[in-house]
Structure formats: structure tokens, C-alpha cells
Amino acid sequence: MWILQLSDLHVPSSWRDVGQRELLMGQLVERTLDAGVARHDLAVVVCGDMTHRGDPDGYPRAAEFLTGLMSILIDFAPVLVLCPGNHDIVASDRPFEDYNRFAWKLTEADQFLFSGRQTCSKFVCRDSEFVIANSAYHGDTGFGRIDLRPLRKLLAEPPAVNRILVTHHHLIPCSYDSSNAHNCSVLRNSYEVMDLAAGKEVGVVLHGHLHLRSTMTVGTSAMAIVGAGSGGNSPDLPTFQCNLLHVELGRVQVIRSFYFLLDPAGGRLQEISN
């Protein structure tokens, strides 16, 4: 299974396509073909923060962006896997209602809808399963936490060939910017999550939140933890970053990372060497 990992789209209600999008998408397709991705073997995974600061009007624009992306990639017949983030908490009394509406319209799949009754879910696609854990399920925008009970239950089931855990918040604290709270907004129960996941044949954990590309391996099973940078739609987040991963036989075989600076003068999708 090939995975195109995006995260932190932060699409504002004022989003408009100023032309680079087509350029970027076209180059993404070239890179995907160049990597040898076959039809029906691609999943586009978005690790949360579809809208910006809980703005419900960001969702139609985020849907427009993702519909455009899926349409450009149509020759690969990709599936779309979605996970909410802390910016997708729109209102305290109905935190993921707008997100759920957005996810339903794009996927018509219950597995991408989250509430107090469904904090984790599983989406199976051919020989791969995506276990999606809503790390913002508790409704607090300040930090991440995964609901361990349903996660344990899902991971106790017999695994598919490739088992991929998808969440929003990063698992390992980072103090790259001492002026913000990112090192405090880490997944609070990340040790339990990593311990559980590594023991239950999770080959890779995909996350976002930090707006930084990162790759680490953990445990004796060398479980990969891969973070994607931002989707670059918000005016204060002009840089687009994504990862193209190949997961086979339960492990990450290849990770290619790309970076695109959204500049009115034009831009190029550049590969980052690992």
C-alpha cells in the first residue's frame, strides 16, 4: 500500500485557489507515478486540522481542496482516510459535528465519523487496515490524548497484513519553538499508545500537529512514527509538505518527503533527502 500523507490543511473560509494548486497537484502526480505507485494501491491520509481554529466555514473549502486533489489523482483510484485534529473542535457542545458532516460528504464512510461514542475506528482497504484514533476526542484544544479502551479492542482483532495507526497529535515531545505550547500539546498518553501499538503489529504511526516532517522508529519491532508538515492553505502557513510512503509486509519500506513553497511567482515540489 502506498500512502500519500498530508496533515494540518488549516483551510480558512477565505481560501481560494491562486493557481499554484494546479502546479503542485500536477507535480504530485508525476512524483507518484515516478515512485511506481499502481492503480488501486494508493491511500491519501489526512492527519487532522482540516479547518483553521474551529471555523465551520473552512470545511466546504477543505472539501473543495481535497476533492480537487482526489480528482487529480483519479488514475490511481485512491481511497481517502481522514482523522480529526484539535482545530476540528468547532464547538464545545458539539465538537466534531461539522467535521463529521465534512467527512461524510467526502467518504460516505462511518469509520471517519467521531463522537463520544466513537473515539477510535478501523478502515480496511485490501491488505491494509487504518486504525484511526481521534486524539482530540476529549474536546480540549490544548493537548492530545487517545482513548485507550477502544484502541485496545481494535488492536486485539487479528491484524491485516499492514496495520497503520493514524492520529493527529505527535507522540514525542518537541521544544522546537519555546514560544508556543507545542511541547505541552503532545499526546499525553503517548507511552501507553506506543507500547500498545508496537506490541500489536502496528507497522507505522502517522501523525501531524507539529507542522514538521519527522521520522522515527520505536521499539524492537522498529515501528515507524512519521509526521507530516502542514498542508499550507492558511495564509500564515504557506509551505506545503507531504510524505509518500510504501508500506509492505507490515513495515515501511520507503518514505519520500516533498516540500513546496506556495509563492505567487510559482513553485516546485522539491524532494527532501531523508
Binding site: 477565505s14 461524510w104 462511518d110 505567487p264
Partner: protein, 292 residues
């Protein structure tokens, strides 16, 4: 006629969209037998606040109309009627009379016409049946299902021992119109004249883009006044402040919307409607994306 069965409300919604992929379906019947818990599913959660607005006895200001204003407290009557006579055939709410349609042309009135309930306490079953004169399955059906869930929960509040719900929806004409706007007035049409003018003069392109985007839905009740205000304000700015592309596309969108409004007086669906709708969407996106 087509009958679709589902094990969940989300499955019904998915099947209905698939059924209408190649055109409207006449006499679509949707049926699900579910447990009471399904009334709180994550799928229905996603549409609950919209359903509450549609059920509100006082029409919210951002809706052209709603169901609650036509139901006039009918659910209270239903609950009382079932308490009075558990096997009553009158536990129903009727939203429209023929007189509400005669002479009204295409003025907006509910498609949701009737809902009826029955409770079989021995069997632990609530039956809810709804009838729609027309039903849009992509955008509106999930909201209607959420409304049916809310209404069912209201009735069930008096029956803690009833564990199952049998839901049947009849739609005379079910159709698929992605982007259908649920009779919600766009934020541009709710904005004050002064705010629109002020945003244009100050070059607040983010606000202008948000407003133009708010018109990207497929409106049943087509409103062009907000766009016209915006166009007039943009045209009055010194040359070069806004590109000719923005002006042309705003004008094109308004023209297409007015043609669509006129065309819809005689036909609701079809290739011509689809073409005009496409023209509106393309022009609006081009106008929005031309704002720099």
C-alpha cells in the same frame, strides 16, 4: 418504485445516493429496523444541529423556512394522543394542506409533508413513517434522517422499555444534487449593505472570498441581491483595484443565476438546469480566485 433496506441510517443514506446516481427516482422507499441506540449514531450526530434548526418551532433567521413552523407543536399532540390511545391512527403531523400549494408557484414550502408514529409496547417497537413530495439525497436526506431520529426520540421519551425503531421514508421524487443548499441563506445575503461596501473599499479580499464562496451552494431559493451589491461596489472602485476578471465573472454568475431562477419556474431538474448551475459555480470560483 424502489425499496432500499439498511441496517443503519448511514447505510440508507449511502444506498439512496447510489440509487439516484443516474437520475431522479420516483417513489423511493427507505426502510431501516434499528435499535434505539442508532438514534445517537456518529452519523446522525453530524447533522443534529441542522436537524434541530429545522425542527425549531421558531424559524431561525438564516433559514428561508423550516419544518418546525409548519408542525406547530405537533409532536406534543402525538405524544398525548399515543398516551390517550396507544393504537391510535391519528398520531401524526401534517405539515401542508393543498391550499398551501395552490397559487404559490415555486415559493419555498416544505417537501416533508407527513410523519406518523405507532408504538407497540409489547413488542418494544416504535414505528416512524415520513412522506416527502421531493427528497434531495446527498445534502438533505442526512438532515431528514437526523430529524426523524430527533422526533422518534421525543416520542420514545415516554417509553423507556421500547428498544427498537422501525423507520420508513417515502419520497415521491428522490434526486441527487450535490451542493444543494438546504434553504440556508448565504452569509453574503445576510451581510449588511454597509459591511459589503466597507469590505470592498478596504480591500478585505479574505472577507470577499468567504462571501463569494458562501454562494457556491446550489440554491433552491435563488438570491442575487448580495452579489449585485458586491458587483456594484467593486465596479465603483478606481480602475485596477479589482481585476476585470472579477467584475466579469461576478456579472456572469448573476446572469446565470437569474436565468436559472426563470428556468426553474417550469422545470426543476434536467440537463439545462445542470448546465446553468455549472456556469454559476465556475463563474463564482473564477471571481473568488481572481481576488488577490
Amino acid at each position: 418504485m424502489l425499496t432500499l433496506e439498511g441496517a443503519s441510517f448511514s447505510e440508507l443514506a449511502r444506498k439512496a445516493v447510489e440509487a439516484c446516481n443516474h437520475g431522479p427516482v420516483l417513489n423511493l422507499v427507505l426502510h431501516a429496523s434499528v435499535s434505539r441506540d442508532e438514534l445517537d449514531s456518529p452519523f446522525l450526530d453530524g447533522f443534529k444541529s441542522k436537524a434541530l434548526k429545522w425542527q425549531d418551532p421558531v424559524r431561525p433567521t438564516d433559514l428561508v423556512f423550516n419544518h418546525g413552523e409548519y408542525m406547530m407543536g405537533a409532536l406534543d399532540y402525538v405524544v398525548d394522543e399515543l398516551r390517550r390511545k396507544p393504537d391510535s391512527n391519528r398520531a401524526c403531523a401534517v405539515l401542508l394542506r393543498t391550499s398551501d400549494l395552490i397559487g404559490r408557484g415555486d415559493e419555498p414550502v416544505p417537501s416533508f409533508l407527513v410523519v406518523q408514529f405507532a408504538v407497540d409496547q409489547a413488542a418494544g417497537l416504535l414505528s416512524t413513517t415520513c412522506y416527502y413530495r421531493a427528497l434531495e439525497v446527498v445534502e438533505f436526506l442526512p438532515v431528514n434522517l437526523a430529524e426523524a431520529a430527533l422526533m422518534s426520540k421525543s416520542v420514545l421519551s415516554g417509553y423507556p422499555g421500547v428498544a427498537d425503531v422501525d423507520l420508513t421514508l417515502f419520497a415521491f421524487r428522490a434526486h441527487r444534487t450535490p451542493g444543494f443548499n438546504l434553504f440556508e441563506r448565504a452569509s453574503l445575503d445576510l451581510a449588511a449593505h454597509y459591511d459589503v461596501y466597507s469590505a470592498v473599499v478596504s480591500g478585505n479580499t479574505d472577507q470577499l472570498a468567504t462571501w463569494i464562496s458562501s454562494k457556491l451552494v446550489v440554491e433552491s431559493q435563488i438570491e442575487t441581491e448580495g452579489l449585485q451589491q458586491l458587483l456594484v461596489a467593486v465596479e465603483r472602485q478606481p480602475a485596477g483595484v479589482y481585476s476585470a476578471e472579477v467584475v466579469e465573472n461576478l456579472a456572469e454568475a448573476i446572469d446565470a443565476m437569474e436565468q436559472l431562477r426563470e428556468f426553474r419556474c417550469t422545470k426543476s431538474t434536467g440537463a439545462e438546469v445542470a448546465l446553468l448551475t455549472e456556469r454559476v459555480q465556475t463563474s463564482l470560483k473564477a471571481a473568488r480566485d481572481g481576488l488577490v
